[in-house]
């Protein structure tokens, strides 16, 4: 009797404890991250065009009427990208359907750590040849394929490309130019190289792109109706060719920053930026990661970076200042601009002085690691200037997990 009961319970426990987990796997994956960079404002003039709210369909399947009815990989509710693409999946944990990038909050397999770089913001995708379509969709929470057939016909981009195994791709839907009213967008595909480059972990790296629409700088340098979309005055335009200089200041914090220059790091010429939609990785430039003068054993770094964009005819004024240029307020005509990378980036400044300024997070990251409650690491950064907005994409290296002691 006793034995029967034990056997019975063994079977009960065995069946109750048995859980079948199916692990999805993508064979021979490529790694893909997608942004909707159509950041133009909806105005009276363009309101009868479809809204820049997209669905990405890879390897689409069509029904008998030729309307898209399914796809191999679907990235729905793809809204305009936000100014910071962090080194971890954006929107993850969010219950909102809206996604500011792909994979973002999509529950798909993401990339591993490759050569020390965390690819968790890149989705795994089978390598090989794929047809990729982007459709405009109505702004609602209804999944794309449950929309009426008539709402699934607004095709924005249709292209075919080959993804190579193990390669890292960043894709963006970009506005081609400001002139056309149909066929306005194109897919920009960049095969990233940072996983293959010998990048020192003691240096911050940054590269720059100007992916603005053709003609944007000349047309909208005064009056883009979308200027106030991104928080007060912190949005502006640059010309198609700009020289970039950088300065380093300290200290930096969420509550404030000071413009105390780090000696020797003042208006250092970095590169020349030219507007282009040609794919290709821009060269990375290095900036040192200074230890902080504090009590944490020089583990915590608190300097911040300023990039000064100037027309080739102008030169910086010293002290990291753009001095009298800033007094021009709104009348900059895209000739000068400043990008401050600071922990205090989420501030809505007002006043003419700040009309010249864009703000993004710091190019280093500070996080608990090992025995330290706050330890600073350098990151690999990509600055993209698209129309009136700067976007920063940061990639973090693998780092020691925090230890509780």
């Amino acid at each position: 009797m006793k034995r029967c009961i034990y056997i019975f319970f063994s079977i009960l426990l065995g069946t109750a404890g048995c859980r079948k987990v199916t692990y999805n796997a993508v064979s021979k994956p490529a790694y893909v991250r997608v942004f909707n960079s159509l950041n133009y404002a909806t105005t009276l003039q363009n309101k009868d065009n479809p809204p820049p709210f997209l669905t990405m369909i890879i390897d689409p399947v069509f029904d008998a009427e030729g309307i898209v009815a399914g796809g191999g990989i679907v990235g729905d509710y793809l809204d305009k990208r936000v100014s910071y693409a962090p080194p971890y999946p954006l929107n993850s944990g969010s219950t909102r359907t809206v996604n500011n990038e792909y994979p973002g909050n999509e529950k798909v397999l993401v990339g591993p750590v490759v050569n020390g770089f965390d690819l968790s913001s890149w989705a795994q995708m089978p390598s090989g040849r794929h047809r990729i379509q982007f459709y405009n969709r109505t702004v609602s929470t209804v999944p794309f394929f449950q929309l009426p057939a008539g709402s699934r016909t607004s095709l924005l981009v249709d292209t075919t490309l080959t993804l190579e195994e193990g390669e890292v791709y960043t894709m963006q839907v970009l506005q081609r130019d400001i002139y056309r009213t149909t066929n306005i967008a194109e897919l920009y595909v960049r095969k990233e190289l940072f996983t293959k480059m010998p990048l020192a972990d003691s240096l911050i790296y940054v590269n720059f792109y100007n992916l603005s629409a053709e003609g944007y700088a000349t047309m909208y340098n005064f009056t883009d109706p979308g200027r106030d979309l991104y928080g007060g005055n912190n949005a502006q335009v640059i010309r198609d060719t700009m020289n970039i200089y950088y300065c380093l200041f300290t200290p930096d914090s969420v509550s404030g920053r000071t413009t105390r220059l780090i000696p020797g790091y003042e208006d250092i010429p970095l590169t020349t930026l030219t507007r282009s939609h040609q794919p290709g990785v821009a060269s990375y430039h290095s900036i040192p990661l200074f230890p902080g003068r504090d009590t944490t054993g020089s583990i915590f770094s608190n300097f911040w970076q300023r990039f000064i964009f100037l027309m080739p005819a102008y030169s910086p004024l010293g002290n990291g200042a753009y001095g009298p240029y800033s007094g021009l307020g709104n009348r900059l005509n895209g000739n000068y601009a400043v990008l401050d990378c600071t922990d205090q980036y989420d501030v809505n400044y007002t006043g003419a002085y700040y009309n010249t300024m864009q703000l993004v997070p710091n190019l280093r990251v500070t996080t608990p690691s090992g025995n330290y409650p706050a330890r600073s690491f350098s990151m690999i950064n990509t600055v993209e200037w698209i129309n009136n907005q700067v976007y920063l994409m940061s990639i973090q290296r693998q780092y020691p997990a925090p230890v509780n002691n």
Binding site: I5, T43, Q45, T138, P225
Partner: protein, 351 residues
Amino acid sequence: MKKKIPIVISMLCLLTVWAGCKKTDFQAQQREGSQLLNTGEYIRNNFSFSIFSAALQKTGWVDSLNNPNVQYTVFIPDDDAFHKDSVLSAADLDKWSVDSLRRMVKNHIIRNKLFYSEIPVSLDNLYPNLNGVDLYVSGGLVNGQRSLAVNGITVQQIQSAVTTGAVYDIPLANGVLHVLSRVLKYFPGTVQGFLAARADCADFAAGLKKFGLWDSLGKKGPFTVLAPVNAAFDKNKISMDSIGRMDTAKLQSVVFGGYIAYPHHIFITDIGMVYASALTVSGSYAMTLNNLGMVLQTAQGGRLGPLAKKMAYLDRISRWVNTYSTDYLCTNGVVHLLQQLVVLPSDVPKQ
């Protein structure tokens, strides 16, 4: 007793397994006794909707709206809305035939419950009404301010004791109400047909014919036409006769084409729902619309029209005939009526 211990343990285990498997139903249950009214009953009992309620009774639609098995959404004009169209009481509806009254009622009703939260945040979402005509339902979001409009008519916000955000729904047992500040206007023809049917637009129509712009208004569109009424031409000493004598070889077509925005479908409420921008009309002229009226300028910002010399910008606006003379929806566009011209023949000679 010792022999029974494993059995007791096994019973307890079974009890644990059974209790652990309990599936709790987290679905909110509707409380008994809190039944909402049906749509027809609610409208009949609300004094703000007495005229629309009378129209429902005259057309036999009350029972349909009380059918618990069919769901409707009613964009309901309140009594103030009817007053704006000079319908002051239910007795005034007697002047209408039952058929046209029924068409008016069905114009305001769509099938199924459409809650505000389900309406996409974009302009011109189309929902067919019971006449089979699409309603343009627009949800705007500018500077964090949400708004809702149907065919260019603002949906009134409901004061609610339980929510602080914008509320536009009156939820009912078999439907939803959205309260309109005006009666929906719909002309079952093209903008060309609309202008042809209105005697007060005869001068404008004659000018469009003279400059070869008339035929296009019968095509697909969408057109937004800002039609100056005859009085606007009279003010500037332009008559049907003088329009007939205009020399099209010596005048740019903007003298009449400046009132037509193509391909644009713009209600006046759209202006506050998206970012402002000028529309390019008649080649290169810039049309600026606002709640009061319109201004036409050259591409370089040069002023035009009889109001060009006024100092203040507000005085340079050619205004709507009145607050209600806008948003006439046609099959291929929208018409708004203007009381003043925006461009004079002397402004735009051919070079």
